[in-house]
């Protein structure tokens, strides 16, 4: 007989073992699927690994693909930590790109430090304002943030589209081919973000910045007063109020922070990758929604978000590179889906433990309790 029992506390090793096990299981399930459809699973995985991570230039492309996911993943993880469901990473990233591209165009060929800082700041402010709208509505008017952030995504997407395709705005290129085909105005060459060459691969400044932010967030949640407040408000708002925490202010502040991170993601998209505000491409990519998946897979841990973003980025990068008659086009999406399902399923094992009980001798040895908690009967 098998039984599920809720764990009183989660031992440390589980926090690594469960996600690792989930990834393995997802790969196994994917292998079964591949075999059933007549592909050689090992060979396909080998290809994925090569094109995603090991072959020449692959890791550089993977990091590029991972960068926006890193930012939107952090954006979701930050908000979800307080059970504020910011689904608006998408719109906040777009607004960040709008702000950063304006800054990039305006600051032009000035000193690179000033230009890059200006773009980051502009992106962060635009993202923060965009999320702050939903945050203020939630904090002071008690509206549902899921709905407001989701709706604001459409507003942001349409606004960006209008700026480039529907108007003669500052963002639109009016000269050259831009006179015929509507397109964004590129930022000056001097505003392109630097990258660091590691020999085998190159890391864009955006990815570096995102990783630093992830570490910073980890510290904030672990050992600052703000992080403590986020924890209490997320768990029990009444207790937070009782303890004299300014819950409304914290909700607003956290939303703004979350939006600022997505906004910097938008800035990075302009500064690292496209060098132009490209609303169509941003909408098609759906970084905001993918970020929610990244945050969920990382179990809202900012450091884990970095690695999950690399994994997901690698998969989509390899998928793009390998697409063709020999390679199942839906495989990457399927694998990502399997990863999500198995990771969320793995939560069960993190929260509960399984005990096999023989019908007669159901002797439960307290020593097999992970963590070895002493008996409490009081």
């Amino acid at each position: 007989m098998i039984r599920l029992e809720r764990r009183v506390d989660q031992p440390r090793w589980l926090k690594v073992a469960v996600p690792a096990g989930s990834v393995l299981t997802a790969l196994l399930a994917g292998a079964v699927l591949l075999s059933l459809t007549g592909h050689d699973a090992m060979e396909t995985y080998q290809l994925l690994l090569e094109r995603g991570f090991t072959s020449q230039g692959a890791f550089t492309a993977t990091l590029t693909a991972a960068t926006p996911l890193l930012f939107t993943g952090l954006c979701a993880a930050v908000a979800f930590r307080m059970r504020v469901f910011n689904i608006g990473g998408e719109g906040q990233l777009i607004m960040g790109a709008v702000g950063a591209s304006a800054a990039g165009i305006a600051l032009g060929d000035g000193p690179v430090v000033i230009t890059v800082l200006g773009m980051i700041l502009a992106g962060a402010i635009c993202g923060a304002v965009w999320a702050g709208i939903a945050g203020a509505l939630k904090a002071w008017a008690n509206t549902n943030e899921i709905i407001t952030t989701l709706m604001l995504n459409y507003v942001a997407a349409n606004l960006a589209t209008y700026l480039v395709f529907g108007s003669k705005s500052y963002w639109r290129e009016l000269g050259g081919t831009g006179a015929m085909f509507p397109q964004g105005k590129p930022i000056a060459e001097g505003a392109h973000w630097p990258s660091v060459d590691f020999g085998n691969f190159t890391m864009g400044f955006g990815f570096f910045l995102g990783s630093v932010i992830a570490i910073g967030l980890f510290v904030v949640f672990r050992s600052t007063r703000f992080g403590f407040q986020v924890q209490v408000i997320g768990d029990e708002p009444r207790a937070a109020r009782y303890a004299g925490m300014r819950t409304k202010r914290a909700i607003f502040g956290l939303m703004a922070l979350s939006g600022a991170i997505a906004g910097i993601g938008g800035a990075s998209d302009v500064g690292d990758t496209r060098y132009v505000l490209d609303p169509k491409a941003l909408q098609q990519a759906g970084y905001g929604y993918a970020g929610i998946v990244v945050a969920a897979l990382a179990r809202l841990n900012p450091i884990a978000v970095v690695f999950v973003a690399i994994l997901m980025g690698g998969l989509s990068n390899a998928g793009r590179a390998l697409q063709g008659p020999d390679f199942p086009a839906g495989l990457v999406g399927t694998l990502q889906g399997l990863l999500l399902v198995f990771t969320l399923g793995g939560e069960l094992f993190a929260r509960y433990r399984i005990r096999r009980v023989a019908a007669e001798h159901a002797a439960a040895d307290p020593a097999d309790t992970p963590g070895g908690a002493p008996a409490v009967t009081a």
Binding site: T224, A243, G244
Partner: protein
């Protein structure tokens, strides 16, 4: 004391309605909730399960209703061995459970809730007729077409019982049924139970209150620390003996006042003047409350539930806005609803809803102990927390206040009620308050924990804290207070010294009868 030994002591040879043998249930973390518990319930018997919180009463009843499966042991119904794999199996065997926290669908009507447990076609009119019929037969009057949210707590409990009876329950298990009832409602519940047993149905009555067990049960099985302390015929057993079995030591059952040196000249630490506030539904909840609490004293506020006690506590603690009046804590006038300001002025607060207002249930004991102190040194420096000090402080406070838990990182939601309250008291008293506001601090706790909490409150007053005690338990008010205020419909009707207090007079005042007070000023004497 007479201990019954045979399985069918009071049943004249018929097999017991329920015979449980050596029931053992373990939980993760090494917690043994029940260990080798034997229990026999005779047909037509009201059998009490008596024990402190955490003694394993609820776990045992959940083993009987299929919610849990025991790790060891056997169950037999009417002499036939059974094994429950789900609550459905238990219902088929004729077991009905009335939870402490009701399992009713609030927007549904009474009849619809009764239908929930059934299969096949839904005939609403038939269900309504059946509810009416059952209500008639057992004295469980309730309108079958009323929606649950419209009903009082006592009426909701009747619906739960009707639900069980409608499934032909032969054995009804009631988990702490009187915790939510007024004394009058409790008495009518007992009457219902007697009618049921007169028909040959059996009842398991779970409680930690001795007087209730004495009032309603035929036999009682005492649980302590998950083990059975034996089954006893209630009529032949002294309350003191049952109490000792329950807590494992002698306890003081008396309601005599805690002796305390009177210091009528001590400074006033809490001054409440003409306080007015509205309740959740916009009704007038506080209608000009005036009272003072001095250092070194306990002022007990007694009254029937719902006369403004909750609102009074919330306004003083800054958790509810007032419409008029002043609150002054240790010389600081509190303006507006701001819990932090109240706390900074020197107010400690034990809220009525301890687990969800006083504590953050999923957080660890160590975090909860720092819930208010985290923002100041020594627990934080600048924006950063000092986690090692959190831990050290938690270990020290858990030791000093005898909080029993696996460790400082245990989430508070898994603690028993008594330990939850100890965590709260530890935190509030360690912040060195000038005033301690305690709202129903012992409600739902077991005898041992009640004693601990009362001692802590009395010690706080001895040290110079002014304690404002709000309680619906008159015995508690009488045993702890130096002065007693009676609240009725949002007003303080009278304040009397403990020495001059007369239970009957207090009772009349709690009911709003001020006729015997005509000579004395009704208000403002505090």
């Amino acid at each position: 004391m007479p201990e019954t030994t045979t399985n069918d002591a009071s049943a004249g040879g018929r097999p017991p309605a329920l015979a449980a043998r050596r029931i053992t249930k373990r939980f993760p973390g090494g917690v043994v909730a029940n260990e080798a518990v034997d229990l026999d319930v005779a047909p037509g018997e009201i059998h009490a399960l008596l024990g402190e919180n955490g003694a394993g009463k609820s776990t045992l009843s959940n083993c009987f209703t299929g919610l849990y499966r025991p790790d060891e042991g056997t169950l037999a119904v009417d002499g036939v061995p059974v094994e429950f794999h789900s609550p459905g199996d238990a219902i088929v065997s004729g077991f009905g459970l009335v939870h402490q926290h009701f399992r009713l669908v609030e927007p549904f009507t009474v009849a619809e809730n009764v239908l929930l447990g059934e299969h096949g076609r839904i005939r609403r009119s038939e269900a309504e007729a059946r509810v009416a019929e059952l209500g008639d037969r057992y004295g469980l009057e309730v309108d079958p077409s009323a929606r649950i949210w419209q009903l009082s707590v006592g009426q909701q409990q009747r619906v739960e019982i009707i639900k069980a009876l409608s499934c032909e329950a032969k054995l009804l298990i009631l988990d702490e049924p009187t915790a939510v009832l007024t004394p009058q409602e409790a008495e009518s519940l007992f009457e219902v139970l007697r009618r049921m047993t007169a028909e040959g149905r059996s009842v398991i009555f779970i409680s930690h209150k001795l007087d209730e067990v004495r009032a309603v049960a035929d036999r009682v099985t005492v649980l302590r620390g998950g083990r059975s302390e034996g089954t006893h015929v209630v009529a032949g057993t002294a309350s003191r003996d049952l109490a000792r079995l329950m807590v494992g030591r002698d306890i003081d059952l008396g309601t005599g006042p805690v002796p305390r040196q009177q210091r009528p000249t001590a400074a006033v630490v809490l001054r409440v003047e003409d306080l007015r506030a509205t309740g959740d539904r916009g009704e007038t909840a506080l209608d000009g409350v005036t009272l003072d609490v001095r250092a070194h004293e306990v002022l007990g506020v007694c009254g029937v539930s719902g006369n403004g006690q909750r609102e009074l506590a919330e306004v003083i603690a800054g958790m509810r806005a007032r419409t008029a009046g002043t609150v002054e804590v240790a010389g600081t006038v509190l303006t507006g609803a701001d819990p932090r300001a109240a706390h900074t002025a020197g107010l400690g607060h034990i809220p009525e809803d301890r687990l969800h207002t006083g504590l953050s249930p999923s957080l660890s004991i160590e975090d909860n102990l720092a819930l208010t102190a985290y923002r100041r040194p020594p627990l934080s420096r600048g924006p950063f927390l000092r986690r090692t000090r959190f831990r050290a402080r938690a270990i020290e406070l858990m030791e000093r206040y005898d909080v029993r838990a696996p460790g400082p990182t245990t989430p508070t939601r898994v603690l028993s009620g008594g330990n939850v309250q100890k965590v709260l008291l530890a935190r509030e008293l360690s912040s060195d308050p000038k005033v301690l506001l305690a709202a129903s601090p012992t409600r739902g706790l077991d005898v041992g924990a009640i004693e601990t909490v009362r001692t802590l409150l009395a010690e706080a007053a001895d040290r110079g804290v002014g304690v404002l005690l709000l309680s619906e338990d008159l015995d508690e008010i009488l045993s702890l207070s130096d002065r007693i205020a009676v609240i009725y419909e949002g007003r303080i009707l009278a304040v009397v010294d403990r020495a001059d207090a007369d239970v009957e007079e207090l009772g009349l005042l709690m009911g709003g009868d001020v006729s015997h007070l005509s000579a004395t000023p009704a208000r403002g004497s505090a």
